[in-house]
């Protein structure tokens, strides 16, 4: 079955605040799609519209060819939704939760075991424990089981890995890959740029606008400027000083280093190094590096801000 999602010119405002401004997206059937953006970018609003919980102001959204506004009742059968906040019944056990959601969707656990089996085996040892007493990673797995129990065509995950440890996060992505193999269209919203590489295609979103849609590699390749990593003893002062540097294009703190781009195409590393040394910085190291998604996002969001 074709389970694509198409979003056309979608806008939503909360009073004065524009949460989404003319968003258009095509998500192909069976794709593992990432929606990447910082907090407050509009990811959750977009998800709430996709899950038929929120009515858009303008624009059309269709899932598997059904309109979210008109055919919301039918769409609810096709959707698996995992909200960002753990929203299963904490005072029911793992088994009871699963049973409950199976019943609500008018189905049985046994009939859908093949769908959730890989995940279920991991939480089965805890099936009599109250959902509220599970660890963060386990809660996530249970929520995923409950979202999958009715064999949805489309799975929407709103920040599924927020607040989950690194090991559980990578496990979780493994599970998503397994689900993708079963032909489900999966859309993941996440604020973590590093997770973008795990998706087939990603959309970068900020301030309710889509900045770019492409494969992770495609996005990185579009990064035209030469990028340099700068390391000094006093990172913060160095950033302030570089901002004063005449030909600076952009400088961002990026973990333990600064990422720097220059306005000119012909940029001499030694020139900047000398400038920093003159400013009294010690241990200055500058090297050319390959851009990652986050650099692209920062560049795009800066452009977006300049346009405004």
């Amino acid at each position: 079955m074709d389970s694509h999602i198409s979003i056309e010119n979608l806008s939503k405002s909360y009073g004065e605040v524009l949460a989404l401004q003319g968003v258009s997206l095509e998500i192909k059937s069976g794709e593992l799609f990432g929606l990447i953006g910082p907090d407050g970018a509009g990811k959750t609003t977009l998800f709430r519209i996709l899950t038929t919980l929120l009515l858009p102001n303008t624009g059309n959204v269709s899932l598997c060819g059904y309109e979210v506004v008109k055919d919301y009742k039918y769409i609810r059968n096709l959707l698996g939704y995992m909200p960002g906040r753990f929203s299963l019944y904490q005072d029911l056990s793992v088994m009871e939760n699963l049973n409950f959601f199976a019943t609500v969707f008018n189905t049985r656990i046994e009939d859908n075991m093949d769908m959730i089996h890989d995940i279920w085996v991991q939480i089965e040892p805890f099936k009599d424990r109250l959902a509220g007493k599970l660890s963060g990673g386990m809660k996530q797995k249970l929520a995923l089981c409950c979202a999958l129990i009715h064999q949805p065509k489309i799975l929407l995950l709103d920040e599924p890995t927020t607040g989950v440890d690194a090991v559980s996060r990578s496990e979780f992505w493994q599970m998503l890959k397994g689900l993708k193999a079963k032909g489900i269209t999966i859309v993941v919203a996440t604020p973590y740029m590093d997770e973008a590489n795990l998706c087939e295609r990603v959309a970068l979103i900020q301030d309710g606008k889509i900045l770019q849609v492409d494969t992770p590699a495609g996005i990185v390749n579009q990064y035209e400027k030469d990028l340099y990593a700068i390391h000094t003893s006093d990172m913060y002062q160095a950033m302030l000083d570089i901002r004063e540097y005449p030909s600076v294009h952009s400088v961002f703190a990026f973990g333990q280093v600064l990422h720097y781009t220059d306005k000119r195409d012909a940029f001499e590393v030694a020139e900047l190094k000398e400038y920093l040394v003159n400013k009294g910085h010690e241990g200055v190291k500058i090297e050319k590096i390959q851009a990652v998604i986050e650099d692209c996002f920062m560049a795009l969001s800066q452009e977006n801000k300049l346009e405004q």
Binding site: L53, L54, L55, C146
Partner: protein, 352 residues
């Protein structure tokens, strides 16, 4: 939570039935006897002998008595002016002044009535005793006799207990249901429910049934306590009481669910439920008779489900009223319930 739901009402019932009573037990008197005659002393001993009064102190000035009243040591002052005994002997109207602490108006009314009763009783003894020569029985010219139907001893427990039962059922119905949907909003579980194909009425019926069962259970325990521990006459049919309770619970649960669907936090829901609860209970006729309320208040009571239920449960338990006797009230409650539930289902939105 579950044990609390079941145990609290039973404790409440046991405490309230004994505490919420209009029976006067212990009124402290201060007596100012400026007369010191045998008559005044006789009247004082009558008060002393009554189980309702304790003569705390005797004195000779009203000021001293008022001081005690200010200190809240006594509830009323009885003043015999000089010449009281003389007046009685001369068969002239003799005065006794009664000063009552009226901070609590309803208590003051009761002190007054009890004191009147004692003085009246004393008066009877003073009247010349006309004795029928033949039968040697005292002649009473006009004798009023009365009997209190359905509660012959004017006992307060049979009067209060059904009302308190209603209160318990209301607490369960209104509060638990008002907290329910809004709680799911707060903890976020409603998100997951809203994306399922479950229908609005299915969801709300699922919410109703547990409270209906808890309410029935509580009513059952209350009725058992009423009949076997408090020995209240139970004249009507149990089935009818349950029918009335069922219809009543639909109304209260409807109101509760409506509150729950319209609020965003448990705090708001709690506040609104509490507001309605207090208005309903105070106007219901549980503590003050509906008949003593102003006209507009009595009209407003048309919308008060608690007053219907209290009226019906008292009628059924104490009077043995049948279905036909409560049909009108039951009908109104039924319509009320349907209206409330329909509004609640309609106002509940799965999409915002």
């Amino acid at each position: 939570m579950l044990p609390i739901i079941f145990v609290m009402p039973i404790i409440q019932l046991c405490i309230l039935v004994f505490a919420a009573t209009y029976d006067m037990k212990n009124t402290n008197l201060y007596v100012v006897d400026k007369d010191l005659s045998s008559h005044s002393r006789e009247l004082i001993s009558k008060f002393n002998g009554s189980p309702f009064f304790t003569v705390k102190d005797l004195g000779f000035s009203v000021d001293a008595g008022e001081k005690e009243l200010f200190k809240d040591k006594v509830d009323a002052i009885l003043v015999f002016e000089k010449g009281f005994g003389n007046d009685v002997d001369l068969k002239r109207p003799a005065g006794v002044q009664v000063l009552v602490n009226a901070i609590d108006a309803s208590a003051a009314g009761l002190y007054n009535a009890y004191i009147q009763a004692v003085i009246q009783d004393y008066n009877l003894h003073l009247q010349p005793k006309l004795i029928n020569a033949k039968t040697r029985q005292p002649i009473q010219i006009v004798d009023n006799s009365y009997s209190h139907l359905f509660n012959p001893e004017m006992d307060y427990i049979p009067y209060m207990l059904p009302g308190i039962l209603v209160l318990l059922v209301t607490v369960i119905g209104l509060f638990l249901s008002a907290m329910n949907v809004v709680r799911e909003k707060e903890i976020g579980t409603i998100e997951q429910i809203n994306v399922t194909p479950i229908k609005k009425y299915q969801f709300l019926i699922g919410k109703l049934i547990p409270f209906l069962i808890i309410g029935f259970f509580e009513l059952g325990v209350g009725l058992l306590l009423a009949t076997f521990v408090f020995k209240i006459p139970f004249l009507g049919s149990l089935g009818l009481i349950y029918l009335v309770a069922f219809v009543y619970l639909l109304v209260v649960l409807g109101i509760g669910l409506l509150i729950s669907t319209q609020t965003d936090t448990q705090q708001q829901a709690m506040f609104i439920a509490w507001f309605f609860m207090v208005v309903f209970i105070m106007m219901s006729g549980l503590f003050t008779p509906v008949e003593s309320m102003p006209e507009w208040g009595q009209k407003l009571n048309f919308l008060n489900p608690v007053s219907y239920f209290i009226k019906m449960i008292r009628m059924i338990m104490l009077k043995g009223s049948g279905f036909k006797d409560v049909m009108r009230e039951l009908g109104i409650l039924g319509l009320y319930g349907i209206a409330m539930l329909t509004i609640a289902v309609n106002r509940y939105r799965k999409v915002s």
